[in-house]
């Protein structure tokens, strides 16, 4: 067994309870939201069509052609485009901060590095741990929603009436929709976690990691939403993870290559953070 594996296992073990709580909490939010589908659709009788309000559209992820009265449109606009990515971002930032800066601030990292392990081994094991917890939480959420959505009519096809009176049939949600929605939301969480990881590895400061990564997530969201409302600074929204996430609406429209952006960001953050971690002093 390699030292990287041992460090990884220990870090995961130290987080087993929080991983369970995060996973269960995220899943409860998703399932409870899904449970509103039957009552919401009957209450509005299919009148949940895309809003003209650009702000609300941004918030709900209501891009062109997305109808929240359909099962997939509902899941996307009421959970997978907002609640779920926010929760996974929070989890990612908490993990990315804890990976190096958190343990360094607690003083536990120093003692580990007094042992014959390298900083490279610690940095890679901790990054792998961060990814694993995000994947576990996403899988638990996927299983929870997949297991319960038949009870909430989300797997049933629905007939949708358009403004011009024409009707069409929308398919019920299936596992592939949940997979794509979960993957893209997890990618957003991973991107934010990677920012926290990078800042933590580079500085060893928990506050910096938490602040910069949270700022990245919130400022990106505000920037994207305001740009949608005002129509200005559109070019700047490319720096926001929300742009590709909401514009592409992969859960509804299908997977695109944009989903790779957070993974690219994560690899860059890992490499840059690792190199800076090697070169700096440990904080006491």
């Amino acid at each position: 067994m390699s030292d990287v594996w041992r460090i990884y296992v220990r870090w995961m073990r130290d987080r087993r309870r929080s991983t369970i709580w995060w996973s269960v909490g995220i899943t409860i939010v998703s399932v409870v939201t899904a449970a509103f589908y039957p009552s919401l659709t009957s209450a509005t009788s299919g009148g949940l069509g895309a809003s003209d309000n650009a702000t609300m559209s941004s918030v709900l992820g209501l891009g062109a052609g997305i109808d929240p009265s359909t099962p997939v449109g509902f899941l996307w606009s009421f959970n997978y485009s907002n609640q779920l990515p926010w929760l996974l971002m929070a989890l990612g930032i908490a993990l990315g901060t804890a990976a190096i800066a958190g343990d360094e601030s607690d003083g536990t990292l120093e003692y580990l590095l007094a042992k014959p392990v390298t900083r490279t081994q610690v940095a890679s094991a901790r990054f792998a741990g961060m990814v694993t917890v995000l994947v576990v939480a996403s899988i638990v959420n996927l299983v929870g929603v997949a297991a319960t959505m038949p009870f909430f009519d989300l797997t049933d096809p629905v007939t949708v009436t358009a403004v011009d009176g024409s009707t069409s049939t929308a398919a019920g949600a299936d596992l592939s929709d949940l997979l794509i929605g979960g993957l893209s939301a997890m990618a957003v969480g991973l991107g934010s976690g990677a920012v926290a990881y990078f800042v933590g590895a580079a500085t060893g400061r928990r506050g910096y990691a938490l602040g910069v990564a949270s700022g990245f997530a919130v400022a990106g969201y505000v920037l994207y939403t305001l740009s949608n409302v005002t129509g200005s600074l559109d070019w700047l929204t490319w720096a926001s993870p929300w742009r590709w996430f909401i514009d592409d609406a992969m859960m509804v429209n299908g997977l695109t290559l944009d989903v790779l952006w957070p993974f690219v960001l994560a690899v860059v953050a890992l490499l840059a953070g690792w190199q800076l971690f090697l070169r700096r002093d440990l904080r006491s």
């Binding site: 120093e110 590095l113 390298t118 700096r280």
Partner: protein, 296 residues
Amino acid sequence: MAVIEANGLTKRWGDFTAVDSLDLSVAEGECYAFLGRNGAGKSTTARMLLDFLHPTSGSVRVLGGSGRDPEVRARIGYLPGDLNLPRTITGDEAIRYFGSVGRPPDTARVDELAERLGMNRRRPFHQLSTGGRRKVGLVLAFMTDPDLLVLDEPTSGLDPVLQDTFRDLVSERKAQGATVWLTSHVMSDVEHVADRVGLIDRGRLAQQLTMDDLRRQTTGDIQLTFPEPPPSGAFDQVPGVSHVQVVGRDLSLHVDGPVTAVLARAAELGATGIRTHQRELEDIFLETYSGSETDR
């Protein structure tokens, strides 16, 4: 062979110099006590030995290599001044984990250390008292019988019996050829186990002395009481005597070497009382740092 060798070792953060041009060498099998006031640079030096901090200039070699090398760190037992382990880890888990990422410890040795120190092996680390945490740290530091022990305030929080056990442990390791780098404010620890003492003041090595030097210096001060005020030159002819002071019927002096001649002269003069005061390491420590208070 020098196990620790620092040459011009310096650590600065901006305008603040934590360690300034430190030159020292610690031989194999030696116990070197590195003493100083809080913030003097002791922990910074220890952290450079283990490559937690990179020197601004100068160099330090440990066990013939660098603290950056995992092979070197495999031969070091480290106890930081403030030991922090994952909150929920128990003593046994810590032994297994840190043993698995380092040199594997001998189970019998672990059991022996845990028993001698009375370590609680099952309670989570965050539920242990300060002393309980110290015991875990000492077991972890000693369990692989390392070639070099770097111990920062090792007996802080331990009761006198366990302090004694600690001294025995250090003495045993020294007898087996291990080298010890010790930082402590407990002077009795230092006096019992150290071979040499380095005093650091504001990052600079203020003085180094062997325990033999110290013992020579501790040949002490004597205060004699006479029925009448004695003449101030009463002990001028006695070898080794210096710093004679007369206050009323009391005469104090310092003597280097045997005190036989002093006692004989005191008897001649009809001394009615005698008190001795031995200079201890603590006195030297206080003398070294007296006056630096106002500079801080």
